[in-house]
């Protein structure tokens, strides 16, 4: 019973992180039709920025969170201008494939640049809050995990408010749903593109800083999150915001349960096998539309 509760709690925490991580992928795919393989690198860069601020300069962890998120947002905008913008609207290329390749290469370039700047060694980073919360019996939760869940839910709530209320968010949704109509209504598509990428960078950066104390900050810290993000996005159906949240928690829980009862070595292979079966049953994901419809 207690192991089950422990597993469920850690599943929920990881589900929350996957949700904000994948939300960046989902927004960018819905709006720009680009599977942004650099999303993991945004988190990695955010982690390094937070490490520089907190460990090198001695700022409190919460400042590290903000700085990391902002740095990742900047990297998101940079990624847009060097790897996606030159490809938009070209007739001689397959945009989705080309943008996939260019963002993948940008992610690798960021890793290489980080190794140049900081070296290849892992960096440890302090958690937002120290200590553990005793729930009942032997069930304990690190305060960091609680903080992760809280920050993640705040982000998701803020995002949904932004997308449904603010002018900027509505224009993102408009471009995602009907590009031509949005443009005719006077939505500045060029600006929406880079704002979306900045938003994705922000979300990726927050996820990266939150994950940093649980793992380490390293040049390859973005690899595993992007893999998980891709898995979540596949199960959700690309470009579906609702699906992303459901799929993130489902995958977080499956992973935690498999890790607890079968062994953490098997969590990824089991997950992968389940997803292969799932893709055979529903080739376009939980909430994806069969053909080219969006969001």
């Amino acid at each position: 019973m207690e192991t089950l509760v422990q597993a469920l709690i850690s599943g929920l925490v990881f589900g929350a992180i996957y949700a904000i991580m994948t939300m960046g992928l989902t927004l960018v795919y819905g709006c720009l039709r680009t599977l942004n393989m650099a999303q993991g690198a945004f988190g990695m860069v955010g982690g390094y920025a937070a490490w520089v601020i907190t460990t090198d300069m001695g700022a409190p962890p919460i400042v590290g969170l903000f700085v990391g998120a902002l740095a990742a947002a900047g990297i998101g905008i940079l990624t847009h201008f060097i790897s996606i913008k030159p490809l938009v609207g070209r007739k001689d290329i397959d945009f989705e494939m080309t943008a996939y390749i260019s963002t993948l290469v940008v992610a690798i370039m960021f890793s290489a640049a980080i190794i140049l700047l900081f070296g290849a060694r892992n960096k440890a980073i302090d958690p937002l809050i120290e200590g553990r919360l005793h729930v009942f019996g032997t069930v304990t939760v690190a305060w960091q995990q609680v903080a992760v869940a809280v920050v993640a839910f705040i982000c998701l709530g803020g995002l949904s408010l932004m997308l449904s209320r603010s002018r900027q968010g509505l224009s993102i949704m408009a471009v995602a749903q009907q590009f031509d109509a949005a443009k005719l209504m006077g939505v500045p598509a060029g600006r929406v593109y880079w704002v979306t990428m900045a938003l994705a960078g922000l979300l990726g950066g927050i996820a990266g800083v939150l994950l940093a104390p649980l793992y380490f900050v390293s040049p390859s810290a973005g690899d595993l999150p992007i893999l998980k993000g891709l898995t979540v996005a596949v199960v959700a159906g690309l470009g579906s915001i609702r699906g992303t949240i459901y799929a993130a928690f489902i995958i977080g829980l499956i992973e935690a349960l498999v890790a607890t009862y079968v062994g953490s070595l098997w969590s990824l292979p089991v997950l992968f096998a389940l997803i292969v079966v799932f893709m055979i049953v529903r080739p376009y994901g939980l909430f994806g539309k069969p053909e080219e419809e969006r969001l």
Binding site: V105, I108, P269, F272, I280
Partner: protein, 417 residues
Amino acid sequence: MSDMTPAAAAKAKLARTLTWSKTPVVPTIVIVIVLAFIPLVWRNDYIISLLVLMLLFSLMTQSWNLTIGMCGIWNFGQLAIIAIGGYATGLLTINLGISAWLALPVGVLAGGLAAVIMVLPSIRLRGIYASMLTFAFAEVVRLLIIADSSGFTGGPFGLTGVKGLFDNLSPSWSLRAYFWLTLVLCAAVMLLVHRMMNSPFGMGLVSLRESVRFSIGMGINRRVQFIMATLISGLIAGLAGGLYATFYHGITPSFMGLGPMGLMVIMVVVGGLGTVRGPIIGAFAVTILSELLRDTVMWRLVVQGALLLLVLAFWPAGIDGLLTRSLAKLRGWMNVGQGEVEGGPHVAVATGAAPVDPGPSLTAPAAQASEATSAVVAAADPPKPTRKVGGFKAWLNADQPKADGKKPRGSKGDKKT
């Protein structure tokens, strides 16, 4: 042409009109023989090992290009297939102690089998979903090998002590033997791929890439085509992996990481995605570039990545496309004086440009066709302009554009919204 039977001539003409080209067997053999003298003339072991590496990379990129470039299967797990070939070969020589010559074919088969297993679930999926499935497959293979602590695969430190193919030769002769072997295999694979892509089977693959609906409508069996192509690609990948493992006497899981993957992507795209020569050109160009940047190892990936972004932005067809285009342009200039209109349909096809207005260029193919294909079939067969239909080169019969400028049916691909 006089000793050709009418049937053979008609077949040759059909092949020409479908823009198939003959497999350049003789030129390739000549080039291979010329290149084979390099290690005898240039007695620098370092250069030769570098050449072997380039040839191995060419095999790898060729195998990957077959699925991602030729068929449009978004396969981002090819490095895992190559590594499976390498691991199978290596484990057999280490654990069973058999000769590398016997283990290599098993590695090749393992690569083919793994490729089919990996691609099978993703055939039905749309581009990006397939890419994620294959990418995840590769990551899982990598993580499983890294997590293996039983010592069977050597875990994160990789496999060591794999037997070489030419262990009984002296090191420098073994190096040269590897060079000749990989050179011949590379040329053979190139000819095979060329032959395959210039056959009904290959045309089916290309048409599947360009428009799935069109191809299925034409009666092309998507599943069989993709499985066959994947199998061939996996066999080549297994061969490359097995050669790699025996050449370096080992293989590590970091071979499947994002870095080598990025390198492969850069090679294929810089060389030219979806062409036969492109992957080889790319493998050589990028390896030479990395050698030039040898003193600044860490800057290598950044520079190569920047190169890829530039190529994508300015020459999306890669170096091969650039060569083809300049050649076509040159040919166009040279033919201007002989009544050939510059920018005629042939140039348009070669450059991949938008279909040109057939009005002024109608005379060009007429002149060309009358001299080239007059012999047998051309009598009742007036020349028609080549036009792109959904990106698919087609020789249209009655479907001339109407005077009112209406687009021909199917000329807009169904890939884009």
